[in-house]
Subunit: 569 residues, 2 copies
């Protein structure tokens, strides 16, 4: 390809709206252009990198026995209503109505399409397992799209769905995918960790995220410095505390706490630490009231709560909810709550006693509140947000919180979709059973951004070889010099004949502009043909990632660039 | 690929909803499955054929110097409102509103996206020409989707857009695309004609359709049996008539025509042929009244009318429109129409005289109405629908109407989009000029259906080699015979090592089911390994397209199949 004809005009200045390095560089280096918030056009350079990732993914999926299909982007609402996700996704799902008044959605993921498809085709256990995948654009109406390709409303994703007879089959299918994902990200040259994660609105059991380390990442995970614990922030489980010694308990005592409606204020007023306060937070869970108890110095993890009650919708109580149950907002305590309110307590509540909590009376609290004696707990569960410094559940060492970009997420969803959608097969014993499913997402456009976050410097992108849109750029330093131009063309053709993906910078621009653009666009190897070099019988080579420079003979310069490329990361 | 693992379950019976052969066969042979009306999932076999067409298109586009990009599917409404297509498409365009209340559409084509893109990147005549293309799903909310992949609401299309300095450049870019399209359809093995066509809601000048012949086709074209005229039905221009001899004219006379409001009734009542009647049809064209005159035996071609006034919206008068102008519906004649009504006449009106037309009075007509003397014609234009038997504009022979499927449509749109969108470049003389554009559509999913329409028999699909999902199927006739199975495996591996795309039918099914499925799915070459053949040291070969059978030695059977394939159409 000749750069004089390439549709790729670099931007000299940083676009003001671009905060993340990958956003800034992909715009400046002419890989993408914004059409509207969170929606981008891929330019020729962006296309080439995207296709390379697609090819790697396709090879690893095909190699793992998955089969490629392609499902629609516009989807009927009905199956989404059956699974509850039409409501659960809410405004995140783009919704529209067709000319006949039928409700449609733009696919954010495709469980509701692939499950009925398989049910129609594979009626017997003999037909299983099967794994179907597609590489297609997905849609999420993000409230605030940002960071270029990292948080967008339209993104390219590979999604795969496995169907098995039983859990054992699912575990095998899941493990095959997990290994395929490792190979994909290894081939892409990403630095990543694999962590246990929360299934979110997908539902189901065990699942893992592939998290590419990046300072700009919005996806936090928890790691033990000893290396014996890794988990998504939302899914991380702190080590449960030792149960408190309840042999001697304070009496339950009501105290007046005028104008002290916050944990801080009550803590100061009574001279008790926040960890001795008991928060009693009320939620509406699909129409049912649920009180959640956590110590005063911890926060409720609403993701964990939503997961506990999936697919019911979970929301915090509003003023009207308090009023309708006769509860005093700001002063609710668990003692004496009516039976219709379910009381859930985090495991950490077992580690405390003699709690200070609301007296269910305005401007009053109680001290000495104790579970069982003074209030009922219907269920203990893991409900708190983890914090930096919490003890590792494996070794007790303080945990650290790290930043990353989730580039892959795989789920054991079991029968979460096949049951409501009545997607069944006839098993060996003649009974109808729902398929046991796994689903496997991999962000293609996100991987582009994550790779740039990990591979850039102050001059531009430093692509790993596998993702670079071109592997070598041949820069003709003196465009008006016929001999230099001819040597550049010769080396360009030599590299092409060696099977190298090569770009010839034959533009009518200064050498300085060409060097800067080559650095910005990030091709792994630069080969410069200039007047001085031609006189001396040499070309200049530069390995973009390290900046290492060398020279090679003018004759055979192409081969030298190809050799340098072969050794590049 | 082993068929025992292939996600492809054929249907024994014809699906009742499928009228067109391609619809029926693509469903039965497990290439596609419907998700809702006009929206399909591509199964693995369909994917493979689709990817083959994509590859051919990509190679020919890249080889023609076009560059691949990818534009979004969800698009902001604003530029569509500027060009007038937001209104012009109306209900055909899927429209939605995002969570922030912004109007969006799903792209039916991308002039409104690519034009501002290029304007932002290529400011100078030196940057031109450029041709950008994408292969992406497009959306049209068809009122009545049907015929499988032929009339759908979601379809895969290659769309390209050329940008030139001037008309001369456009003609060169256009010709390059026309030649590339020929190569694409030739490589796909389609039988097609290239015809002049109507630009429809795209607008602009000369354009051509690539029409694949098919009995089921809904796209009609006109052909002269002499081969000297070919045109899309909507664009076909009949030979203009000889002007009538106006030396002796009847006087204008009002006649009473009680209860005769139709052409037929008046014709009978007055004993004059329909061709002597003058229809005067009223239209609202963007708020302006336009009367269109055509002889009583012809129909107004509203597509031509819409084209004459593009981008203004054209609609027939409704009762209220007649009332507001004081016109008598059913009895309108051109004589004495007020000046604010534009009078347009078809060329054929020049060929007649002494017209019978409405008297602008209920239940009355006039005879002897003549242009100039009795009524004004502001403009003569080509406005009639062509008919079978109309004289060829080149040779006068009666024209024939043929059925086809439009698989490609290329347009010289000139500045139709660049002007309203203010997409300009600085020309050599320093002036700002709008880009002169061409646009080029090619239906990928439609080409699949058109190929099946042209290549099938009563047993199934008969793919041309270039589009077949697999080139050879190796059928193991006796699944429970270990030696037969082993020979089948050996030949399967032999073919794969020869670079042939081969499918091994290793299913636990009878030979009859396997033969029927092979015929239905349409692989070009079938190779059968059976007990008798193994004993005799032979395999059976069949060329699907012709049904020709042959035998080959068991050893080297793979090579024989490869040779047969190489000679296949």
């Amino acid at each position: 390809m000749r750069m004089s004809r390439l549709f790729a005009r670099t931007l000299r200045d940083d676009p003001s709206e671009a905060e993340a390095p990958s956003h800034r560089l992909l715009l400046r280096a002419a890989y993408i252009r914004q059409v509207m918030a969170g929606v981008y056009t891929m330019l020729p350079l962006g296309m080439r990198t995207m296709r390379k990732i697609e090819r790697i993914v396709r090879e690893e999926m095909d190699g793992s026995g998955a089969q490629e299909i392609r499902m629609p982007i516009i989807l009927p609402a009905e199956p989404w209503k059956v699974t509850g996700r039409w409501q659960a996704y809410g405004e995140i799902m783009f919704k529209l109505v067709d000319r006949h008044g039928r409700e449609l959605g733009l696919g954010p993921t495709h469980e509701e399409v692939v499950t009925p498809l398989v049910a129609g085709e594979l009626p017997s256990y003999r037909d299983l397992p099967v794994n179907l995948y597609q590489i297609e654009w997905k849609y999420r109406d993000e409230y605030r799209p940002r960071f270029g390709l990292l948080r967008v409303r339209e993104f390219l994703m590979k999604d795969a769905y496995s169907f098995d007879r039983d859990e054992e089959g699912l575990h095998a299918s899941y493990d095959t995918m997990l290994q395929a994902y490792r190979r994909v990200f290894d081939r892409c040259g990403l630095r990543y960790v694999i962590v246990e994660a929360d299934p979110g609105t997908i539902g189901g059991g065990a699942n893992h995220e592939f998290m590419a380390n990046a300072d700009v990442g919005e996806d936090l995970y928890v790691a033990c410095p000893n290396g014996d614990y890794l988990a998504d922030l939302e899914a991380a489980t702190p080590r449960p505390p030792e149960p408190a010694d309840t042999t001697a308990l304070e009496p339950l005592t009501e105290v007046s706490t005028p104008s002290a409606a916050t944990i801080d204020a009550v803590s100061k007023l009574l001279g008790r630490p926040a960890s001795n306060m008991l928060k009693c937070i009320l939620f509406d869970v699909g129409g049912r009231a649920v009180a959640v108890l956590v110590p005063g110095d911890r926060e409720v993890n609403e993701t964990k709560l939503a997961r506990r009650f999936f697919p019911a919708l979970v929301r915090r109580f509003e003023d009207a909810d308090f009023a309708s149950l006769g509860l005093v907002k700001g002063y609710v305590g668990p003692q004496g709550l009516p039976d219709e309110i379910m009381v859930l307590a985090d495991h950490s509540v077992r580690g405390g006693k003699d709690w200070v909590t609301g007296a269910n009376k305005s401007e009053h609290h109680v001290t000495g509140a104790n579970a069982e004696r003074d209030f009922r707990v219907d269920e203990y569960a893991d409900l708190v947000q983890i914090r930096e410094g919490d003890p590792c559940p494996a070794c007790g060492q303080p945990l650290r919180i790290e930043r990353s970009i989730v580039v892959g997420h795989i789920y054991q969803i079991g029968t979460t979709y096949s049951e409501p959608l009545k997607a069944t097969f006839v098993d060996e014993d003649g009974t109808e059973r729902p398929y046991v499913m796994g689903c496997y997402g991999l962000g293609i456009t996100r991987t582009i951004a994550a790779a740039v976050e990990q591979n850039h410097d102050e001059h531009g992108i430093t692509w790993p070889r596998a993702l670079a849109p071109f592997e070598v750029v041949v820069i003709v330093a003196n465009r008006d010099d016929e001999q230099v131009t001819a040597e550049g063309e010769r080396i360009y053709l030599e590299l092409a004949s060696l099977g190298v993906e090569v770009l010839l910078d034959d533009r009518d621009e200064s050498a300085g502009v060409k060097f800067a653009d080559a650095d910005l666009m990030g091709f792994p190897v630069q080969l410069v043909v200039g007047r001085r070099g031609v006189d001396a019988g040499t070309v200049d080579l530069k390995l973009r990632a390290t900046g290492a420079r060398s020279t090679a003979p003018l004759q055979g310069g192409g081969q030298a660039a190809a050799d340098l490329l072969a050794a590049a990361p």
